[in-house]
């Protein structure tokens, strides 16, 4: 697929998903009971679906002028970080406890995106110190200052 076609296909997929949500919201708004509860959603859904279908139509025709989509390089760059972030938020945070999970996720993200060489011992040491410092600040801010009791499963 050429670079020229990539954004167009992406626009079709992106606006198609938005249009699908719009159709679903409209369907639910007009069919669910009690109808009084869906009076306002119906009003919004009508405008929502018209705009969404128009955007989808424009994308299909190749008329979309706004939005650059995502290049393969950008996607390759962001994918590992996004996966780590989502695993951290949806599984690790509750399962391992906030502080343990944050320390692990923070360290992995630093290691993944830090431009410093992975072969130098000094840069690994720096990452460990930054991670420890960050967790200490977060603990001080949230546990000691704000008294927020976050899930604590392993260690703390």
């Amino acid at each position: 697929m050429s670079d020229l076609n990539l954004p167009r296909v992406q626009h079709i997929i992106g606006s198609g998903l938005v249009a699908a949500v719009g159709v679903w919201v409209t369907y639910v708004s007009y069919t669910q009971q009690p109808s009084e509860a869906f009076l306002f959603p119906r009003l919004i859904a009508t405008v929502f679906v018209i705009l969404a279908l128009w955007t989808f139509f424009k994308a299909c025709m190749g008329w979309t002028k706004v939005g650059n989509g995502i290049t393969v390089t950008q996607f390759r760059n962001l994918a590992p970080g996004l996966i780590v972030a989502l695993v951290y938020i949806f599984w690790m945070a509750k399962g391992l406890g906030f502080y343990t999970a944050t320390a692990i996720a923070f360290f992995i993200l630093l290691s993944l995106y830090d431009p410093a060489p992975h072969t130098a011992l000094k840069s690994w040491l720096k990452r460990i110190i930054i991670t420890a410092g960050f967790i200490a600040v977060m603990y001080g801010l949230f546990a000691l200052l704000l008294k927020v009791f976050t899930p604590r499963e392993i260690l703390f």
Partner: protein, 503 residues
């Protein structure tokens, strides 16, 4: 002149300490590229839960003011605007720094920010109570149209595509209906237990503004940004003051432009800075010097983006319509403290309203004083690698959204909305109208329902919502803002096509 009675409240030890923390912290956050004022204020909201309403608002207001000014530090010393509002500042500010006038540029930047900022807050002080009293005459139909106006104006002016801007607003309005409805108690669009209580506005704000920034930093990969901080030499402050006195025209144009643009909902500091820079250049006899390190360009841009801050809160505090995305986040901060903008704020909570506004006035002066001293440190913080920044913001977003209600559901909502927003942004949708829809949705819905009940008992739905001078005026403004934005979009495209042909 009621505001004078509440000046003393700003100087209580806790309030003043929070003002200092907000100002210094805001300067540092503002100078950090990748941290926008909106995102900085959104991340700060969880820290206000333990505070009283006034204290929380002082912290948020100080952060708002000084993040905009702090953005000038990295714009001048690194040529990286700390926030979109500082784009115009890079044009002459960095050129001045390259010529060895970094200290002078920073001094002029903070001095003109303070002058513009003080004028903007004075406008806020004198316009807000008048408009708040006027807002008392508003019935449900008018409030419904005002909420729609807020979403459409931000949707059309803040977005590159009118249709996508309005669509973002619709998505926000729909998201606001998720949960149980207030009248029938019926479930609406709940497909996961986390959504039972609806979408928490603070979790949504953090997700929509912070997570897309984090993913954007990931998308850059292991990029080494060798931004060189220009060394700041010593420069007497008196020289900068004299320079400012000589540049009255640029100062006046910047302050007036910023104040007027601030009053228009949806047009943020970026537009204020660029329009002021452009106007100042047009009216200057030395227009050829603009872009080469001319102090007038810097003064116009910086006075404008700070003059915009105060007026951007006028429609927020009177009509619940935020003047900028950051003001929308501040509205979220007001609502979580149980304070509703409008006449209620000035009639029932004058201490909160006036202490907050007065703190912004004093905050402008503090921002100027500290800005001159913290600038060097802030510029060093601006060189923190993106990898560290992304991981810190992610951690703060998770802890911050959890601390709202001690609920993992809010964290899931924050993450899901954030990831969705990143991808939507890549396709031309913007977060500001979506957030406005989410915030103004409940106001629009409750007034729509109330209006429908009144309409059923009187002339019917159409005459009630579409009749009357004020309704017609508001509808006309909604339509005019949409048509104007369509015209501007088409004009911009025509220019782009012409440039392509010429190239």
């Amino acid at each position: 002149m009621e505001f004078i009675f509440y000046f003393g409240d700003v100087f209580t030890p806790v309030n003043f300490a929070l003002l200092l923390v907000g100002t210094i912290g805001g300067l540092i956050l503002g100078a950090t590229p990748g941290l926008s004022p909106t995102m900085a204020v959104a991340l700060l909201i969880p820290f206000t839960f333990q505070l009283e309403a006034t204290q929380g608002l002082i912290l948020l207001g100080a952060a708002y003011t000084s993040t905009v000014a702090g953005g000038a530090v990295s714009a001048i010393l690194l040529k990286i605007p700390g926030a979109p509002a500082n784009i115009a500042t890079t044009l002459d500010g960095h050129a001045m720094a390259q010529k060895g006038q970094g200290a002078k540029a920073l001094q002029l930047s903070f001095l003109s920010s303070a002058v513009g900022g003080v004028f903007g807050v004075l406008l806020l002080i004198f316009l807000t109570p008048v408009l708040a009293q006027w807002a008392l005459a508003f019935g449900p139909s008018h409030l419904f149209w005002l909420a729609i106006l807020g979403v459409t104006v931000i949707g059309t002016l803040d977005s590159a595509s009118v249709v996508k801007g309005l669509l973002s607003g619709c998505i926000g309005l729909w998201l606001a209906t998720i949960g149980f409805d207030d009248i029938m108690g019926a479930q609406r669009f709940i497909f996961h237990p986390s959504l039972g209580g609806g979408i928490n506005i603070i979790a949504a704000l953090i997700g929509l503004f912070a997570i897309p920034q984090v993913i954007t930093m990931f998308a850059k990969g292991r990029l080494r940004e060798d931004a060189e901080v220009i060394k700041v030499e010593k420069h007497p402050i008196g020289g900068a003051v004299r320079e400012l006195m000589r540049s009255k025209r640029a100062m006046g144009i910047g302050t007036l432009t910023g104040s007027i643009i601030g009053l228009i909902p949806g047009v943020g500091g970026q537009i204020a800075g660029l329009v002021a820079y452009d106007q100042s250049k047009k009216f200057s006899p030395e227009r050829e010097k603009f872009g080469t390190g001319h102090p007038e360009g810097l003064i116009a841009a910086e006075s404008a983006n700070n003059a915009m801050v105060g007026p951007s809160l006028v429609p927020l505090l009177t009509l619940s319509i935020p003047g900028s995305p950051t003001a929308a986040v501040l509205l979220g901060g007001l609502l979580i403290h149980g304070i509703f903008p409008g006449s209620d704020l000035f009639d029932n909570h004058p201490d909160v309203a006036w202490t907050f506004i007065n703190s912004m006035l004093i905050g402008q002066v503090l921002m100027c004083i500290f800005g001159l001293y913290v600038a060097g440190l802030a510029a060093r913080i601006a060189t923190v690698p993106q990898s560290v920044m992304a991981a810190i913001v992610l951690g703060l977003a998770v802890f911050g959204s959890y601390s709202v209600q001690s609920s993992m559901g809010d964290v899931y909502v924050m993450a899901s909305l954030g990831v969705m927003m990143y991808f939507l942004e890549r396709f031309g949708f913007s977060a500001a109208p979506l957030v406005l829809g989410l915030i103004l949705g409940p106001i629009a819905e409750s007034n729509f329902i109330q209006g429908s009940m009144i309409a059923t008992a009187t002339d019917g739905l159409a005459p009630y919502f579409l009749g009357g001078a004020l309704n017609l005026f508001l509808i006309a403004v909604v339509i005019a803002s949409i048509l104007y934005s369509i015209y501007m979009e088409l004009r911009a495209r025509r220019y782009t096509s012409k440039e392509e042909i010429m190239a």
